[in-house]
Symmetry: C2
Subunit: 218 residues, 2 copies
Amino acid sequence: MTTISTRPIETAAHDRLYRLLRQQIMVGEMLPGQALTLRGLAKQYGVSMTPVRESLRRLVAEGALTLTASGRVSTPELSNERIEELATLRSLIEPELAARALPRAHFALIDRLSAINTANAEAVAKHDAVSYIRTNLDFHRTLYLRAQSPAILAVAETVWLQLGPTMRALYGRVQRNEPPRHHRMILSALRAGDEPALRLAVRADVTSGLRHLSQRGW
Amino acid sequence: MTTISTRPIETAAHDRLYRLLRQQIMVGEMLPGQALTLRGLAKQYGVSMTPVRESLRRLVAEGALTLTASGRVSTPELSNERIEELATLRSLIEPELAARALPRAHFALIDRLSAINTANAEAVAKHDAVSYIRTNLDFHRTLYLRAQSPAILAVAETVWLQLGPTMRALYGRVQRNEPPRHHRMILSALRAGDEPALRLAVRADVTSGLRHLSQRGW
DNA sequence: TGCAGGGATTTGTGATCACATTCGCGCATC
DNA sequence: GATGCGCGAATGTGATCACAAATCCCTGCA
């Protein structure tokens, strides 16, 4: 779960629904091709069509959902080419975020990253795809937050969002014992303060998922 | 104007309004800090509040507009740090797009780019900021379309969108005789098929705008 | 057994309304 | 003359409804 603090803040209905759906999509709780209807979601969450429409519209704008010609929204089924593009974006953006975070990465942060890594390993052991994706993204986000670059981080999160349903379908069938191999490399580069090594490790981590994919010839 | 072909296609009202506003924002027809109201736009364009709300929501999601805590929408006033981030994103993404377009950049494309460049120079001569921005973006988009990478291009356009109002404010006061210096470098790199030179030229072109900015200590 | 037709249902779109909050501006007070 | 107060106007939010289009399913025919 990401950053759920105790909030007495009362947020608008459309925003709550947006965050809920966004979270579900990003961690892969929805499969590619799943259809979403305005009235269905409205009834499911006890609101009217208006806030549902707004949150769906927003998610479509971010690429988290796709819109058919007739206006129906569904979770996207990405083509191979699109997945490759998104992986390229990750490999362009995330090393930069990591490099920006490096000067500010102290012990406490590295410890937290290690802890997240442990949780990630547990998710692998349990074959829990959703937990795996969530802890994996948490690892990256926790590091990148230190970059103090909200605009760049926002773009990275948008890319994650677009990959969400596909990652689920992917990691669901990979099922290998992959403990986050590259995450260790990232941690040691952080400890050593070695920026080139850090950039390489992040790039390798980010593109490793893609590699599984194209080998299987989707 | 971008890609207006003869379309008998009847698009939804919210989508038409979205495209209209997006275009205005991207080319800098709106100044930073300008406020937009639901009822105001609804009356102005002869529709109800509903489609206005949807298009504004979408533009906010893309970062083209900002949302105050009370829900008011206005065109963003970017901080220096945010501008620097967006420039970094451009310098990361656009060289990649250019490199992908390079193998497919034939004579006809280079001729079109030269023509756009000429129009750009005319805009400079007339001190027409909006035309300058429009032709400048057209130059980049025309090249990047050849990359056949819609997902990456979409991210680049989102960044342009976020920079729109600021670019207007910036170029409005630069007013120098800058004929697109780096554009020539891009064209010759394209003709030579020299990918490293192309990447460098694009990066230089993209970050040159920022340079003016930070020199003036906004 | 497969396929085309048609009607009922589902679905998105846009309009309108009530309500609570916020904003803006003038007035009174110090 | 400056500042805080309060009221009216303006604004976003969410609900509901009418309508048109798309979809789905079932029936009948080849």
